[in-house]
């Protein structure tokens, strides 16, 4: 495979200048909370890496994390408003070779499953496995079948030889929505369905933010190890501070009702049920959709979607929380 172009070469083919490439490396370093000295290391790693094979598994999911992933596809195009620079996430398609992805891949049926088998054989130990959705264990797993196999068996065989497994989204993290009480299908996250995985990273969120997926992968390419993780295996660069701490509404008077003067003026939403004070996520700083906005900015309280078992621990969403 000596004819594979490096990530930098791919970018240059797509009209990205060397300067723009370095600027996106700098943005990546900032997102990862690394010093500017890391920019060179990132640039060197990306310039010499070929695209990493990815097997993206969807189980009990809503495809929302895939939609989030698709929002990373952006490159400079003077014809499209606002897209002057390669954004932080614009490297995504250039960094990865997504060999298996039910929603996006062209191949179907036998040929689709062949793609997964080919990558597992050809790139054993060298591919990233991304898991989206929970894994049901009721009925011996027979409530999620793909190609006649259970989600559980597919997760076991695919994560076993992965370079790194990323549980992307709250459902893959800890079972998420399907595992909400009373968990009718005995749904589990990757960590409980396939216990003992090393090199497992959690990127919870409903959906998870693609910026944090790309940053995690770039960190791995640069330093050949996972970024620092908290006790829940979440990267600390993304889950190290509360939403409330970085919220621009924090210092303003609390709104009492949606649409009242304080709500319109940008007041704090704690009285309306905002979970920002108890939720660790970089939502207010990286925002969504290429930095356009985030839920609290748009006027609705945080629902705490990066917390464990958030569908049970954060609900009812409009009730109060303890003031810490």
């Amino acid at each position: 495979m000596s004819n594979q172009p490096s990530i930098e070469q791919e970018l240059i083919q797509r009209g990205v200048t060397r300067r723009q490439f370095l600027r996106s490396c700098a943005l990546m370093a900032a997102a990862l909370a690394l010093p500017t000295s890391a920019v060179d290391a990132i640039a060197q790693a990306l310039a010499s890496s070929t695209r990493l094979p990815v097997i993206w598994l969807e189980f009990q999911d809503c495809t929302g994390d895939t939609e989030s992933f698709l929002r990373a596809v952006q490159r400079p195009d003077p014809a499209i408003n606002g897209a002057q620079d390669p954004s932080l996430t614009s490297l995504l398609l250039d960094v990865l070779s997504v060999d298996y992805h039910e929603t996006l891949m062209v191949a179907a049926g036998y040929q689709a499953e062949q793609s997964r088998a080919d990558t597992m054989a050809r790139s054993a130990g060298q591919y990233i496995c991304v898991v989206e959705g929970s894994i049901p264990t009721a009925l011996n797993g027979y409530c999620c079948l793909i190609g006649g196999k259970t989600a559980l068996s597919i997760a076991e065989e695919t994560t076993r030889n992965a370079l790194m497994t990323v549980a992307f989204g709250s459902c893959a993290f800890d079972g998420g929505l399907a595992a909400a009480s009373p968990n009718p299908t005995a749904a589990k996250g990757v960590k409980d369905a396939v216990p003992g995985l090393t090199n497992l990273v959690h990127i919870p969120g409903c959906p998870a933010n693609v910026v944090n997926l790309v940053a995690t992968i770039v960190y791995y390419l640069t330093y050949k190890k996972l970024p620092a993780l908290d006790s829940l295996k979440r990267p600390t660069f993304a889950y190290g501070q509360t939403v409330h701490r970085n919220c621009p509404r924090r210092e303003l008077d609390e709104a009492g009702a949606y649409g009242d003067a304080k709500h319109r003026a940008g007041g704090c939403l704690k009285e309306l049920g905002c979970r920002g004070p108890v939720t660790y996520h970089n939502c207010p700083t990286v925002k969504w959709n290429d930095g356009t906005c985030w839920p609290v900015q748009a006027g609705h309280g945080c629902i705490g979607c990066t917390n464990p078992a958030f569908w049970d621990t954060m609900t009812p969403f409009y009730g109060g929380i303890s003031d810490d």
């Binding site: 997504v98 039910e102 996006l104 062209v106 040929q111 793609s115 009925l139 909400a180 003026a265 409009y318």
Partner: protein, 598 residues
């Protein structure tokens, strides 16, 4: 390069000759496609092929989550957040259906601004979703990526200029796309494009058409990312915009606050609508017409029953009544475009489970209305690896919704057919134009190709209409009408002890209904009947096929090992499986009993 997926190597076909468990019908080979990809969720299709055409078909939904059981006992004001996660592709539509159902149960009328904001968010969802479906989930059934490598960039440029004045049309541009594609193939890492049915004889576009479409596949990836910022501005993010409330919306409106939607933000939204209109007018519709012109025989196949149901949507200023919907509500049966659509009565909707992995109290033959919705798991499928399900009595986690006993197609074609029969001026005009361009009559609508055309027609009509809603919103803001929520009945102490309600909407994939029963402030029962359950249902108690199954009958299959034609017809419906299967018994925790038995 023996491992280069671009070499189009031939795989051993998964063709079964009827030796699976259960009593497989005799006859030709059963072709299995599992997983059906480029859809939302998980889907298995089995077809029996005889003399080069499909004789019978089975649609299986192989995943479920049990969302209705999870909702039981929760605060109905939270339900929209849960139900929005039924689907992240048609994100937002389950939130709308949910707040409407709860508002209907509690007798809450929403402010005008909430109506407009919901129309805008939903409208943007249609435009985004349909373009993404066309390019990223469907086009490569008609466009041969490998043939694009043979294209002459100058000829591609000439073709592009003959279709529209879209700016990316120079020979140099198409050369750059071709080079990029060639490098991609040479790398041996075909990624998402690996193992496609490239070179299949049913691909008919010339190389220039293929290169043009591939270029626009890539452009659409960029476009959708920009366009859907519309949702982020109004709802904080996409997918799963977070701004709904029972009684209204959480989006602040205020001309004098930078923390709210101001006329300046409305201008940003107008620019995004224009971005949408430009792409739809200059790229999507011209590509659709180009592709259609090479595949007009698909206007005569894949039609199915010809029964169409639309709940209608996009209410005007005077409420949710059927007469007040911009997209009309109605029903057209047996392809009859000559009469006004029949009215829709939600009490005539019933779900059957005779061929699904459930059982009903009182027997499995009768249907049940969603208010009486009951879904006891009765998994009778294989417990070990298997080759076919088509001989099984029960073969899907999908129920079979029927209207007055009839299987009904929902989705873009249903909406366009109903709007056409109802005399909707813009839909009629666009439909007649498309039919005239392709030199076919209205009967051509009832087909695989008709579904694709209808999706394009309504995308343009909705994108145009979005400017009207932006005008309405801006006028309200300038007139200091800033109310976004009616919170008079926000407090559960104001609710009746026992309340029933339903909410209807149109999702991009078709009519969507939620039914809720609230007792003492908590959800007692919750049921969703969703587009893909209508379309992708298995057989019902009368043994009538579901609409997908029926549409597949008669579709040609040239090569059973590469059943491209099946994908064409199934993808024309835009399946969304996570929506379709999410149900479990709200009355008793039957799952646990079965779990123990096995």
């Amino acid at each position: 390069m023996s491992d280069n997926p671009g070499n189009n190597k031939v795989f051993i076909p998964i063709v079964q000759s009827g030796n699976g468990s259960g009593s497989v019908p005799p006859g030709g080979p059963t072709v299995v496609i599992d997983p059906v990809t480029r859809i939302e969720g998980h889907l298995r299709i089995e077809v029996k092929v005889n003399n080069g055409a499909i004789e019978d078909a089975w649609s299986t939904g192989p995943m479920f989550r049990g969302l209705e059981l999870i909702l039981k006992g929760r605060d109905p004001r939270d339900a929209w957040v849960f139900t929005q996660r039924i689907c992240g592709v048609c994100t937002t539509v389950h939130a709308i259906a949910s707040v409407r159902a709860v508002e209907n149960a509690l007798g809450i009328a929403i402010p005008d601004n909430a109506r407009i904001l919901r129309n805008l968010i939903e409208g943007a969802q249609f435009v985004h979703d349909h373009v993404v479906h066309f390019y990223h989930l469907h086009a490569l059934d008609w466009v041969d990526l490998m043939s694009a490598l043979q294209a002459d960039p100058a000829a591609t440029s000439a073709l592009a200029l003959s279709l529209s004045d879209w700016h990316n049309s120079s020979p140099a541009y198409f050369q750059s796309v071709k080079t990029r594609l060639q490098n991609f193939v040479n790398s041996g890492q075909l990624g998402l494009f690996g193992n496609g049915y490239w070179g299949h004889p049913a691909y008919r576009l010339p190389p220039a058409g293929n290169l043009l479409a591939v270029a626009h596949y890539l452009e659409a990836l960029e476009w959708q990312n920009q366009f859907i910022k519309f949702h982020a501005i109004l709802g904080g993010k996409n997918p799963h915009p977070q701004t709904y409330l029972v009684g209204g919306m959480a989006t602040p409106l205020d001309a004098s606050s930078q923390a709210a939607i101001t006329p300046a933000r409305i201008a940003d939204l107008r620019a995004l609508v224009q971005l949408g209109l430009d792409f739809v007018n200059k790229v999507y519709l011209p590509d659709l017409m180009l592709i259609a012109s090479y595949y007009t025989d698909w206007a005569g196949t894949g039609g199915g029953y010809g029964n169409f149901l639309s709940f209608g949507d996009f209410p005007g200023a005077s409420g949710n009544s059927p007469a007040n919907l911009w997209m009309p509500r109605g029903m057209v049966v047996n392809k009859n475009l000559g009469q006004a659509p029949q009215p829709v009565d939600q009490t005539l909707i019933q779900e059957y489970i005779a061929h699904s992995w459930y059982s009903y109290n009182g027997g499995d033959q009768a249907g049940k209305h969603p208010y009486q919705g009951e879904t006891r798991m009765n998994y009778t499928g294989p417990q070990t690896s298997f080759s076919t399900l088509s001989g099984e009595e029960r073969y899907s986690w999908l129920k079979a919704p029927r209207y007055n006993g009839m299987p009904m197609e929902v989705g873009p074609l249903a909406r366009v057919v109903v709007a056409y029969a109802a005399g909707h001026a813009r839909i009629r005009e666009l439909t007649d134009w498309v039919l005239a361009q392709l030199q076919v009559g209205p009967d051509a609508l009832f087909s695989t190709l008709g579904r694709i055309a209808a999706r394009g027609i309504e995308t343009l009509a909705i994108a145009e209409q979005m400017n009207t809603w932006l005008d309405e919103l801006e006028n309200n803001i300038l007139n200091n009408n800033l109310t976004v929520q009616n919170n008079q009945r926000w407090n559960p102490s104001t609710w009746p002890a026992d309340a029933w309600g339903y909410g209807m909407t149109e999702a991009p994939r078709g009519g969507l209904g939620h039914w809720v029963h609230i007792v003492n402030g908590k959800i007692e029962n919750y049921q969703a009947v969703v587009p893909t359950t209508w379309n992708g249902s298995p057989r019902d108690a009368q043994n009538a096929r579901g609409p997908w199954e029926q549409a597949l009958v008669g579709v040609p299959v040239a090569d059973a090992s590469r059943p491209l034609e099946v994908l064409r017809t199934i993808h024309s419906f835009d399946p969304c499986m996570a929506c379709a299967v999410h149900i479990v018994d709200p009355q008793s925790n039957q799952v646990m009993q079965i779990w123990v038995q096995h």
